[in-house]
């Protein structure tokens, strides 16, 4: 079990973060570090693609919430790409659908950022 993190620069000052695998108490520190590195570099507009995430738990949600809090302090935002019904269900029952912008594809998530 592992999580893969791939960071891509998009037009403007936006970045895309592709996550692949399972985000849990073991792997979430890797995601936290990747997001933290970007934010430390002054990247405050992020799209995080969860299309290849098979599993996420509360520690993974916590990392995403933490990232969102940090970028918002700088007027930034985080949008998510997610179509996996199991993952979307977790965002739904925790009420996080009201906090994150959740989109069906990268284009929609990017357009909604700016």
């Amino acid at each position: 079990m592992d999580i893969k993190v791939n960071v891509r620069q998009a037009p403007g000052d936006c970045y895309l973060v592709d996550l692949s695998g399972e985000i849990d108490v073991y792997t979430s520190p890797k995601v936290k570090d990747a997001l933290g590195d970007l934010i430390d570099r002054g990247v405050y507009h992020l799209v995080i693609n969860l299309e290849k995430v098979r599993y996420i738990d509360s520690t993974g949600l916590g990392v995403l919430i933490g990232g969102l809090k940090r970028v918002r302090e700088h007027g930034g935002s985080v949008n998510l790409v997610c179509t996996n019904p199991q993952i979307k269900k977790i965002f739904d029952i925790t009420g996080l659908v009201k906090i994150f912008g959740i989109y069906e594809n990268e284009d929609a998530a990017m357009k909604a950022l700016v």
Partner: protein, 145 residues
């Protein structure tokens, strides 16, 4: 294999993992495998998978957890009972609201909130000498007793 358990005697699967993050994946896989032995839907199996992982994670994240976590899954005719036992001496705060929004919920409480939401019954016992038991029950759809 995905045949429902049809006998009266529960099938019991026990797993003991070190109380470390790298072993939580094994616990949730085992619980999901047992759930798959019953007639749960894929959605319900995922509920069990997440709830067991959250229970183990709650143990690991607690400062006074024990060295091991014991996960016991009982496949019954009408339900799945999962007991997560930690030898640490603490309780999981389960008396929170059934449903809360983000502003009310602390990140640290999300795991417990998910457990309560995804499972049909949740209770816990704190034994001063033996540790903490978290008992979770997932009933098969249409079975209420």
């Amino acid at each position: 294999m995905n045949q429902a358990v049809e006998h009266a005697v529960p099938e019991v699967v026990e797993l003991r993992i070190p109380s470390r993050p790298e072993w939580v994946a094994l616990a949730r896989l085992a619980a999901a495998t047992v759930a798959n032995r019953l007639s749960f839907s894929i959605d319900e199996i995922e509920d069990v998978r997440l709830a067991v992982a959250e229970a183990c994670t709650a143990v690991i994240q607690h400062e006074s957890h024990g060295e091991f976590i014991q996960i016991t899954c009982e496949a019954l005719a009408d339900s799945l009972r999962v007991r997560v036992h930690d030898t640490g001496r603490h309780g999981v705060h389960l008396n929170e609201r059934q449903r809360m929004n983000f502003d009310e919920a602390r990140i640290a409480g999300l795991g417990v909130f998910l457990i309560r939401t995804l499972m049909d019954e949740v209770s816990y016992d704190v034994h001063p000498q033996l540790g903490t038991d978290l008992l979770m029950v997932k009933r098969l759809a249409g079975r209420t007793d």
